[in-house]
């Protein structure tokens, strides 16, 4: 392929096609709408299906239904729609139905500022639905990475039978960068393989890696799917001897694969006592600040998180041990900073926050380094 000037949202659309997504359901919302527009055009060409649902609740429900019908599925939205999707994101988590939810964050709360960027949905991505549940959230920092992480999102959703949130933002979504996309035919995402015959199939059994294979409906493997606490067959249960092992499995299944899930990039410098930590569009400002500081002869480390949830504790802890101060820059009033503080200790963390629709600037980060 040739180099193209492409928007982040467009790259997400192409990433979905490349990952084998063949069903999209969504509801128009700024600043995510381009993803729906692109997929309404491209999915039928690939033999896939697109539908504009009556709201975001229905969109989330439809992608779960379609995945049970055997199609890799996705929806995209922004903060207000993401709030509506929480109900069925919880369903996908408990029923372990793979799906990808793109949240192109805009300034909230409520209708907020539809065209202004934000990173205000970090905690919503983790705890937006009620109850304890596993979830993965990934945050790209560039247009090309928006493409790559969309594919990763599909792969992880399938591999771990969980909803994956692609937590991007208005800056990445609408920014245009020159990108060269790889050949789609070489791209593969995880496919479930089942070895047992239908009569022995248990859609929710425990396995060595905590993730039982999922067989779509209509292939002779009849089973029950519910949002109620359930046994290995999917039948509702109130028996503690069935509930406890199930709870244990679904809430630890991601822990077993943390090394594969936790995607981070570290730019370390020998002797650095200050570390910058950021993600999404703000990581670009952090990179810029790093460049300026190093040009001045200062020694600085940078840790960029691409996986926000499950929180990359091990990597952040090691990072925190090497430096005296960790500067956490984000476009909210300090959401991921809570997690960093929990892991490296509150006294080490300096927050650089902004939630007025303007980006965190490199200067703000440089000021924090000096402060």
């Amino acid at each position: 392929m040739t180099v193209q000037l492409m928007q982040g949202n467009e790259a997400i659309g192409w990433g979905a096609i490349a990952a084998g997504c063949r069903f999209y359901a969504g509801y128009p919302i700024t600043p995510s709408t381009e993803i729906a527009e692109i997929l309404s055009r491209e999915l039928p060409k690939a033999g896939g299906k697109f539908i504009q649902m009556e709201d975001e609740i229905a969109s989330m429900a439809a992608i779960i239904g379609a995945r049970l019908g055997g199609l890799k599925s996705m929806t995209a939205t922004s903060g207000p729609g993401f709030s509506l999707m929480q109900e069925n994101i919880g369903y996908a988590a408990i029923a372990e139905i793979p799906c990808v939810v793109v949240d192109v964050q805009r300034l909230g709360p409520s209708t907020g500022q539809p065209t202004a960027p934000s990173q205000g949905d970090v905690m919503q991505a983790r705890w937006g639905t009620h109850g304890d549940h596993p979830i993965i959230a990934l945050a790209p920092i560039s247009v090309r990475q928006a493409f790559d992480l969309t594919i990763t999102a599909f792969d992880m959703a399938e591999r771990y039978r969980t909803p994956v949130i692609l937590l991007t933002d208005e800056v990445i979504g609408h920014m245009r960068e020159p990108v060269e996309l790889p050949d789609f035919s070489a791209i593969r995402t995880f496919e479930h393989e089942v070895t047992e015959p239908p009569e022995e199939y248990k859609a929710f059994r425990n396995t060595a890696d905590g993730v039982p294979p999922l067989v779509p409906f209509g292939q002779g493997y009849r089973y029950h799917v519910t949002g109620l606490l359930h046994d290995e067959f999917g039948f509702p249960t109130q028996r503690m001897d069935e509930i406890d092992p199930w709870l244990e499995r679904i809430n630890t299944k991601l822990d077993k694969h943390l090394d594969e899930i936790a995607l981070v990039a570290e730019d370390a410098q020998e002797g650095a006592r200050v570390g910058l930590l950021s993600y999404g569009c703000t990581a670009r400002a952090a990179r810029h600040a790093l460049k300026i500081a190093r040009a001045r002869g200062e020694k600085v480390d940078l840790l960029t998180l691409f996986t926000l949830w499950p929180f990359p504790e091990k990597q952040v802890e090691a990072f925190g041990e090497r430096v005296d101060r960790v500067i956490v820059a984000e476009m909210n009033l300090g959401q991921l900073a809570y997690e960093v503080e929990r892991v490296v200790g509150r006294k080490k963390v300096v927050r650089v926050t902004r939630a007025n629709g303007e980006m965190v600037t490199p200067q703000m980060i440089l000021d924090a380094m000096e402060g």
């Binding site: 069903f23 033999g47 299906k49 239904g65 379609a66 019908g69 409906f217 089973y223 949002g227």
Partner: protein, 300 residues
């Protein structure tokens, strides 16, 4: 069928005169129940929902569909528990969302017979938006709405189909909200098959359900039922048997209704049973298949 189930769980293991497995083997209908799920059902003794389940199984049997060809999708409520007892591809979702989940499933697998099973609150209050839009799209799904005019599972609150003046735990002075007419709503929204019967008229339900499932379009069957433990008690309507009898006495077949004089029709207070609509319109998944062919450069 219900008698067999009642006997089955009243007896201790090994006490049954005929081994339980044999009951299942003797009947194709019972074969469609889940043998590995412990009965009894969660429904109160005397509930009408079991009759609807029986009708649904008989309708599917009548159509000669295999268990693998059918998917049942439900929301939340007493009625929504129905799929778990039946040996199909079964999906018990969130409150009101059965049709939205069913939409994705049907589009992914147009060959499956997708049946959304909902109560009145599930389908028309929290799920009202999904109901009208699924009908508008004429998606090939059967919407089975069991209408008992109350929220039974939560203990008897008024629903969008509770008649004016009737009492509920949240309408202690009588309901003042007009009810939704389910069939009329479905027709106005774009459904292509619409019928209503009651749990007293079980054989009529069998027929309507079989027609609805066979229909290539959005089909709606309203199964009028009752809730004697909440609605019946609050409104002094007697036992389950009394309420079942009332469905016989207080309903009228459409054919009889049509023979009434105009002034008698205007004064009619009985629920009309019958098939109200059966028309052809392009079905969504067929239209989308055409779209794909067209986009991919083939003949439309």
């Amino acid at each position: 069928m219900d008698d067999h189930i009642l006997e089955a769980h009243e007896l201790e293991e090994g006490e049954a005169l005929i081994p339980q497995a044999d009951w299942f083997n003797r009947s194709e209908t019972l074969q469609k129940l889940r043998k590995n799920k412990k009965f009894p059902t969660i429904w109160c003794s005397g509930c009408g929902i079991g009759v609807v389940m029986g009708a649904l199984i008989r309708a599917i049997d009548h159509l000669g569909l295999s268990n693998d060809e059918v998917a049942l999708v439900s929301g939340i409520g007493c009625t929504a528990r129905m799929p778990v007892y039946m040996d199909f591809n079964t999906l018990h979702t969130t409150h009101g969302r059965a049709l939205a989940f069913a939409t994705g499933l049907k589009i992914a697998r147009p060959d499956l017979k997708v049946i959304a099973i909902m109560g009145d609150g599930d389908a028309l209050a929290i799920g009202g938006n999904h109901f009208i839009h699924a009908a508008r799209r004429n998606l090939g799904i059967t919407a089975l709405v069991v209408n008992n005019a109350i929220y039974g599972m939560t203990g008897g609150q008024y629903s969008p189909t509770t008649p004016i003046g009737k009492r509920a735990t949240t309408a202690p002075y009588g309901n003042i909200e007009p009810p939704f007419p389910i069939c009329e709503l479905a027709i106005a929204a774009g459904a292509t098959y619409v019928a209503r019967s009651t749990v007293y008229h079980a054989l009529e339900l069998d027929k309507f359900l079989a027609e609805a499932i066979a229909k290539d379009g959005f089909s709606v069957v309203e199964a009028v039922s009752y809730c004697h433990t909440t609605y019946g008690r609050l409104n002094r309507l007697g036992t389950a048997a009394d309420m079942m009898r009332a469905l016989k006495d207080n309903t009228i077949a459409q054919s009889a209704y049509e023979r009434l004089a105009p002034e008698e029709q205007a004064a009619n207070a009985k629920i009309v049973r019958g098939k109200f609509l059966d028309v052809e319109r392009p079905q969504y998944t067929a239209a989308y298949a055409h779209l794909i062919t067209r986009v991919q450069g083939g003949q439309p």
